[in-house]
Symmetry: C2
Subunit: 415 residues, 2 copies
């Protein structure tokens, strides 16, 4: 079973849009135990599209095409498909009804250009588009399967999930496929590898992937086989083997970010958090408030960028800053205590550091950060040094170092 | 001149990494008046890479390859290139020196695996990698040019800028190419199109692109021709025609985000800003502090998520919240006044709204936002309604609506 993706659209070639669709499809197929052999990106040109289809058909038996199904002139994937398969267009009443209902629901007048989207290639099976006007098409020829989907990501994803992935899985055969995620923080990929130990033995049970990012290293386990019970047992053994030596670093056995794990814990405890940020400049507050319902645990955030703000809002003693500098362990501590005191929350978190590119000195270089905690879990302060020249990467790392301190205090961990 | 891109890496096919390199290359070439004809993404396999090279050579005369030049076993682009061109490896002393210096500068021991990166294909011209250990290679055969670059974005970008783009431009011939950006905010793409008017006449002078995003619509103008003076005059006429009817919406005639334009203005005036955020939860503070040197204008940010925080830190009257609700014009006004009063800055900005997905009511639906300004520019409050079901998109829109209010107050604009 060989699968390829064809992404269609001038906007992809000129870089106006980044091809996230291909990445998403690759992830989904991998989770289902399949792989993309190649991604071909071409523009909105009849010749290019037909050539890409013919070439992919020479290599693959499942070809997933996205993009170019919109109602305007520059979208010509439907025409290219008709020419490639040598078929004409017919009007599909069900599709027309669907488009009409969609416009009615949105209280918008329907343009005649949208009516033309009910004209579909005559031999194609249709995939309904619950989220837009363009239906998807499925063609089969010479044992090859072609799936044409819209390029709008959330329309494509719905169609993939509802139709394409199930059909691919069926074609792949009755294999059971299980995926398990182990999310870690506070340990480098190479150390994780060492501490887990016996990786070859684990890889005899499951397929293992280490996915590093500024928010920690995720471990993905994939297991597949004929019999569900056997696959489940094998996965359970592998998960236990991976986890047993690295428990203090694991914050979730799901594919979620650390802020979500912390939010769920705080909400379940009915506890609240206040954050005082200097160098991260609101990034931590922003990450927590990106979660729906964040007001249930996030009380307030203070971006005390200036020394005056640290003194005035957090009660950091002026002479502490004068003595140790704003980027120091005592100031981080005072900031965390200050945010708990003024906001009356259960937990307070603070960050002060040097994100760069400027502001570093030999004693306090760019990448140096102090994170502080105060509250129910006691009090703590940590010093870290991040080696990255990039301001945004540093902010991201600093934010997760601070969140990891909160995690360690919440769960009383020593790492 | 036909250009194609080949992106190499298993991580791209499984969606662990999104192919931003191809998008960046597409943008850069477009700016220089050239276009990418196709992007082919293949995995780290000898056969796949050689096949992709051979196929691209059948269509294009300039082939830009990224990825797979790292020092570890899974990076095999160098081997694939040697096999494709039928050449062996030789040791390059200059490259070896460069790698040694790099490790010395970083105070790291050099692994023998890195030494092997000084082995280069014997007929290739080399491109020095100022930012990493892997040199780039240039091959020429049968009138076709192949550029092999690392996949690490900032290494690839440096090589593109220093070597590949200049060589492509030279090959393209003596055409003069000019690009001009006009960055707007506070007006929809369709309205912009209408207000500018006479688009066909402008398109007779330059190539025009409208690039919408949550941070406004960017207009890109491209002009090319034989004689610099003529191209400059044509561009100037087009810019004047585009700008004359939409001036109040233009915040920069460069490709920069609004926060940067505001930061530059505040720094030049030696004025400071304080921000009080409710629903945007630190996003505005984060955007401002993503700019290097932000302490020169950004004094502090308050993420007053709870009513208590609004009352305590900003002095918003409790009965005002009780009477109008936290999401209301009077509260937005009081928040802006509060942040200026407590922080003593020249300008204060506030946001309160409903980002969703929950928390909406028929009177105050998800997407409703109030933004407030207080300070040197007077005082103002605005109500906006954003139609998007997505929390993160809403936060992004809200943030730019607030920043646009600051812009209007700074420049005394009525839009």
């Amino acid at each position: 079973m060989r699968i390829e993706v064809i992404s269609i659209g001038d906007e992809l070639l000129i870089g106006q849009t980044i091809n996230t669709n291909a990445a998403w499809i690759g992830q989904e197929l991998l989770e289902a135990g399949m792989e993309v052999g190649r991604v071909t990106t071409v523009g909105d040109g009849l010749g290019q599209i037909k050539q890409a289809l013919a070439e992919a058909a020479g290599r693959a038996d499942y070809i997933l095409v996205t993009g170019g199904l919109g109602p305007t002139n520059d979208d010509i994937t439907r025409t290219a498909a008709c020419e490639y398969f040598g078929v004409g267009l017919i009007r599909d009443e069900a599709t027309l009804d669907h488009i009409r209902r969609l416009f009615k629901r949105r209280n918008l007048p329907m343009a005649s250009v949208n009516e033309s989207q009910a004209l579909v290639p005559e031999t194609a099976r249709l995939m309904q588009n619950d989220r837009g006007t363009a239906p998807g098409y499925i063609f089969e020829r010479d044992g090859r399967h072609y799936y044409f989907m819209p390029g709008v990501p959330y329309e494509m994803k719905a169609m993939m999930t509802a139709v394409v992935l199930p059909e691919l899985q069926k074609a792949k055969g009755g294999q059971v496929i299980l995926t398990h995620h182990i999310a870690t923080i506070g340990i480098a990929e190479s150390s994780l590898y060492e501490q887990i130990g016996g990786i070859p033995e684990i890889e005899a049970l499951v397929r293992l992937a280490f996915l590093p990012s500024p928010s920690g290293v995720r471990i993905r386990l994939n297991a597949m086989g004929e019999h569900e019970e056997e696959v489940r047992a094998r996965m359970a053994r592998a998960v236990e083997r991976v986890c047993c030596n690295i428990r203090p670093y694991i914050f979730a056995e799901r594919n979620i970010p650390l802020e979500q794990a912390l939010a769920e814990e705080l909400i379940s405890r009915q506890e609240h958090l206040g954050v005082a940020e200097s160098c991260t400049g609101g990034l931590i507050a922003n990450k927590f408030t990106n979660l729906a319902g964040s007001s249930r645990f996030f009380e307030r955030g203070l971006v005390t960028y200036s020394n005056e703000a640290k003194i005035q809002f957090l009660g950091v003693p002026e002479d502490l800053i004068a003595l140790h500098g704003a980027v120091s362990a005592p100031v981080a501590e005072a900031m965390a205590e200050g945010v708990v005191r003024v906001s009356g929350t259960d937990h307070g978190l603070s960050v002060t550091g040097i994100a760069g590119p400027d502001g570093g000195t030999p004693e306090k270089p760019v990448g140096l950060v102090y994170v502080g905690y105060a509250g129910k879990g006691g009090a703590a302060v940590e010093e870290h040094r991040v080696i990255s020249g990039d301001r945004l990467v540093n902010k991201e790392r600093f934010a997760y170092i601070a969140m990891n301190l909160l995690r360690k205090q919440l769960f009383n961990l020593q790492t």
